[in-house]
């Protein structure tokens, strides 16, 4: 009789694995990792554009030292952060990463604002192309970030709601950090890179 009860409980346990959110965690966890990679991918793409952009601007506006150094500093800071998958599970490191990317964003927008004052720079085809690429990349970052926020929302809802939260606690799944709102405002404002004369 006791054996029967044990067996029944074992079966119930296995069945409950599908009902307790374990599989949901698996798929949402993977999804959030994938959308996070896309965010990183696009940030990397932006970082790769910076050296060329700085060089072109230097050619026309070499005495804008302050802005140029700001961009270079921000760029190297972004490059120095070790981006590991664990970053996602560490809110502090995540915030640091965000701060560095945000700094690069504002430095870049200042650089582009300054270059408004140099008609020759604005007419340079190389600069215009870089500017179009930067614009596109900033937009891709926004899209990737929004998609990341969306997947994290789904994941966190799954982790926190009952009865899944019991499973999450037992198996060590924690809520993941998302882009905060203040952050979001500062970063999602793409640098105004509109140089077309009206």
């Amino acid at each position: 009789m006791k054996h029967l009860v044990l067996r029944f409980l074992a079966v119930l346990f296995v069945l409950s694995l599908t009902g307790c959110g374990y599989n949901t965690f698996q798929s949402l966890d993977e999804e959030s990792k994938a959308s996070w990679s896309e965010v990183l991918n696009q940030y990397q793409r932006r970082a790769d554009l910076v050296p060329n952009l700085v060089n072109v601007v230097k050619g026309y506006a070499s005495h804008e030292k302050e802005v140029l150094t700001q961009v270079a500093d921000a760029r190297s800071k972004v490059g120095s952060i070790q981006v590991t998958p664990e970053l996602l599970n560490d809110p502090e490191a995540f915030a640091k990463f965000q701060a560095a990317q945000g700094q690069l964003t504002s430095a870049l927008s200042r650089l582009l604002a300054v270059s408004e004052n140099y008609p020759n720079l604005k007419a340079d085809q190389g600069f215009r192309d870089l500017q179009a690429q930067l614009e596109g990349t900033e937009n891709r970052i926004t899209v990737a970030r929004n998609r990341y926020i969306e997947t994290i929302k789904n994941y966190n809802v799954a982790v926190r709601s009952f009865p899944n939260n019991l499973t999450a606690m037992a198996l060590g799944y924690k809520a993941k950090p998302s882009f905060t709102v203040e952050n979001e405002k500062a970063i999602s404002v793409a640098p105004t890179v509109n140089f077309e004369s009206k």
Binding site: E38, R128, D129, A132, Q133, E135, G136, T137, N139, R140, I141, T142, V143, A144, A190, N194, E196, K198
Partner: protein
């Protein structure tokens, strides 16, 4: 309260029009002829290459920036083939004096951001400034077609000419069963079966199915006819009824977008 507030925010966003045609003009800027000319040009290209291009002209994207509205439209319409992600959305916000070319993932190589930007500043903007919207859009579509044409993409699935085997199978099954029961009534079980098998095999072969498979299909048809199709016939016609039927409306193929492309103004 919260719900109400969020609903209001949502309601203020510019609505996404229902996708029915390749060219959607909500501003009555293009004449009917111009629309159909564009439509035909894009449709011909889609037949040839498989990539999908959609043109949307709206009055304004406010309160959103054109980029935000554009990605919402792209996500809703899903232009381009699934997996290939080879769709392009050409969006014009007429009263905002802004335009955008939204490029699907699969075409980011064929139409890099800076090329999209040049199409906007060098082709569209000059025409738009003169009020020639049709000319600008038409030339931009030509340029996009030229860019995509150079890209290596899988051939489109042709819907008219050669049917794929998968499309043909239900037709053969239902047709074979109906024909089988008629032939059986006229010629008797055995000869009816042989005749039906022969017809099915010949038809399959005619439509480009390999000879061996056509023969196997014929034998299956023969056996099915011999067994008697009464029960099977119902099953077959029941599950396959109402298939096909292409209408005039057009829809996206499931392509994904990641925010690639460029925006501009005039």
């Amino acid at each position: 309260m919260m719900l109400l507030a969020s609903f209001n925010v949502h309601a203020e966003l510019a609505p996404i029009p229902v996708l029915q045609h390749r060219v959607t003009d909500l501003t009555q800027t293009l004449s009917a002829q111009q629309q159909s000319a564009l439509e035909q040009k894009i449709a011909a290209f889609e037949q040839e290459k498989g990539s999908q291009i959609a043109v949307l002209i709206i009055p304004t994207t406010q309160p959103e920036a054109i980029e935000q509205y554009s990605i919402r439209v792209a996500e809703a319409w899903k232009i381009g083939r699934e997996k290939e992600d080879d769709g392009v959305l050409l969006l014009v916000a007429k009263d905002d004096h802004k335009m955008r070319i939204e490029v699907g993932y699969g075409l980011e190589g064929a139409i890099p951001d800076l090329i999209a930007k040049r199409v906007i500043t060098e082709i569209m903007a000059p025409s738009f400034k003169q009020g020639d919207f049709y000319g600008g859009i038409s030339k931009a579509v030509d340029a996009l077609i030229g860019l995509i044409a150079g890209e290596q993409l899988p051939a489109p699935v042709n819907q008219n000419g050669q049917n794929s085997f998968g499309d043909l199978l239900p037709l053969l099954l239902v047709g074979g069963l109906i024909l089988g029961s008629i032939l059986r009534a006229v010629f008797g079980d055995f000869f009816g079966g042989i005749l039906n098998g022969g017809v099915v095999a010949a038809l399959a072969w005619f439509f480009g199915v390999a000879l061996l498979i056509a023969l196997i299909l014929g034998i299956v048809a023969f056996i099915l006819t011999l067994i008697g199709p009464s029960g099977l016939g119902q099953l077959g016609s029941g599950s396959y009824s109402g298939g096909g039927g292409h209408s005039d409306s057009w829809s996206g193929g499931g392509g994904d977008f990641g925010g690639g492309g460029a925006s501009g103004d005039w």
